[in-house]
């Protein structure tokens, strides 16, 4: 009940944040050097036609009126029209959304499943060898550019050793996509019992997800380690120890939950890095998501598409952040709201 009230307030608070975001994406169109009309219409257009276009795009009005029209369009789900394909940008992005969401989610799962246990082990044996190794792995992860590690790994694993699937897309075209239920190939193929599709989708996703997930392991590991250390050194834990609780019970039954709460916040933070990295990783693996779309749009100077992507991805990030924040609140008994 109280949580519901708080959640409602948090969702309302999204409105000013998103307005600010739209203001910045709107401002981006204003800093494009040169005449915007020439950009839209091309060079071979009469002055009359140019004036028409100027009017149609509200470019003859002051900027706050233009901004108003922009927000009005957005509220109606209109992200503009791609210069290259003539399709609506919102439609193009929505079609690719699940591919990107599936990739970033699997990358995140991989990252958490490796980083959290490593962080906990590192906390239990501080300055031991696990601590040292996890630190090296973490620093390597945040230092290696994803577009390079993706390239080099697919060179070794696919071209040289033939153990990975080709870095082209989400599924072997001969297998074909599973029946559309959620849009996530791994989930859809499982739900429909389509094992061939599941195997092919998994073979395609594990390498890009590994490359992407590896790049955000360090912060998750660090926060898990720190959370565990703090939980182990807290007064309740000392009391438990004095009462003769078994070490395993202290770690798993009592400390783990408290240690994991800050991990949720860190996941929310690194999700932005995952979205940014997905542009590069999707390019390397020809992954048909929003990142590959924006890469192609950049190559063809399709600015409305790029602008739409920025807004779409940022909204996605803000929403993921909110959901994780609410999850944190639901799990943490200490927070009073």
């Amino acid at each position: 009940m109280k949580l519901g009230f708080y959640a409602g307030r948090r969702i309302l608070l999204l409105v000013p944040v998103l307005l600010g975001v739209t203001f910045i994406t709107f401002a981006l169109t204003r800093i494009i050097p040169g005449d915007p009309i020439a950009l839209i219409s091309g060079p071979y257009v009469s002055a009359d036609r140019k004036a028409e276009i100027r009017h149609a795009y509200h470019l003859d009005r002051p900027f706050y009126v233009q901004y108003g029209h922009y927000v009005d369009d957005l509220v109606h789900g209109n992200l503009g029209t791609s210069i290259v394909s003539g399709q609506t940008v919102a439609g193009e992005l929505s079609r690719r959304f699940t591919a990107t969401f599936e990739l970033t989610t699997v990358a995140l799962l991989f990252s958490v499943l490796v980083a959290v246990p490593l962080g906990i082990l590192a906390a239990l044996k501080r300055n031991g060898w696990v601590d040292g190794v996890s630190r090296v792995v973490g620093v390597a992860g945040i230092s290696v550019p994803v577009f390079w590690s993706g390239l080099m790994l697919s060179f070794l694993l696919f071209y040289k050793w033939k153990v990975a699937s080709p870095p082209f897309g989400r599924i072997d075209p001969q297998v074909g996509a599973p029946r559309h239920l959620t849009g996530f190939y791994l989930v859809d193929s499982l739900l429909t019992g389509n094992w061939a599709a599941f195997r092919s989708a998994f073979a395609a996703i594990w390498l890009p997800a590994f490359v992407l997930g590896f790049s955000v392991m360090a912060p998750i590991m660090r926060i898990a380690r720190q959370g565990m250390i703090e939980a182990l050194e807290s007064p309740p834990t000392t009391a438990l120890r004095a009462l003769g609780a078994k070490p395993a019970s202290i770690v798993f039954r009592h400390s783990l939950k408290n240690a994991m709460l800050p991990v949720i916040t860190m996941i929310a933070i690194v999700y932005g890095y995952l979205l940014g990295g997905s542009v590069l990783v999707e390019t390397i693996f020809s992954w048909p998501g929003m990142g590959l779309y924006v890469y192609n749009s950049i190559a063809s100077s399709d600015f409305p598409a790029v602008q739409g992507f920025i807004l779409y991805a940022t909204t996605m990030y803000v929403v993921v952040f909110l959901v994780l924040d609410l999850l944190y609140l639901a799990l943490d008994p200490r927070v009073k709201y």
Binding site: P16, V17, G20, V21, F23, I24, T25, L28, T29, I31, I32, P33, R135, V139, A140, I142, S143, V144, P145, V146, F147, W148, S149, L151, M152, S154, F155, Y159, Q226, I229, E230, Y271, G272, Y273, L275, G276, G277, V279, L280, T283, V294, Y295, I298, A299, F303, V306, Q307, F309, I310, A313, T314, Y317, V318
Partner: protein, 290 residues
Amino acid sequence: MLEVELPRIREERPLAIGWRRLRRNPVTLAGLVIVLVVTVLAVFAPLVAPYGPREGNAAATLRSPSFSHLFGTDSIGFDIFSRTIYAGRLDLAIAFGAVGIALAVGCLFGAIAGFLGRVVDEVVMRLMDMLSAFPSFILALGVVAALGPSLVNLIAAIALVNVPVYARLLRSRVLTVKEAQYVRAATALGLPRRRVLLVHVLPNSWAPIFVQSTLQAGYAILEAAGLSFIGLGIRVPRAEWGVMINMGLQYVVSGQWWITFFPGMAIALTVMGFNLIGDGLQDVLDPRRR
């Protein structure tokens, strides 16, 4: 009469103290050595590199690493070893430039917000919130896509996404230090705010700002190389690590791995150097991390 021999206090010069602390912190030292080596190589590139950054040899294209071309050559016949060294100039310039600008602008905003408080604080910090609502790579991508790819625009974009980090950092420092005795004393003595800020607040905020900057510099290189890789930023065929990886992209399939491998290693090593400095210093500064 009782004679007490007072222990002699050894006076050490600040540099000596710094060195002693650094020696006890091998992680930072390793990072420092890496960054220094890369910087020296970049600065003295013309002396170290056997070829120029755009000195193509049409008779020797796509050669694998050998004694005459340590890292091999690319499809134009450029020497990868020489270009990898020259590229350090651009990538380090972008990192230092972007982080330097972000530091100056961000600290200014943070100081203004922290000192003036109220409406100014609210406006500045909400503005920073808007900027940090974007995934930073994606905002930088948008800014360069709008302004057009160039060195200056790339630096501006990366500086912009880093501004909120410094604004928040300095604001929180100002808010903490503002209540400290010596700052209240300085204010009570009637020193102008600007002086209080420069003489009392900034020197006390040096450490966290420096640590943050090393980490940001590492990430700035990744962002710059990533943006140049997708065609936003430095353009082909200039010597920049991301551009070089891009130029080798199509040849990875046919087995010419060295075109991409070496510039990528250069990025990884340099960024790791910055991260090690920051990571090691954080251990020293943050008692919780020991």
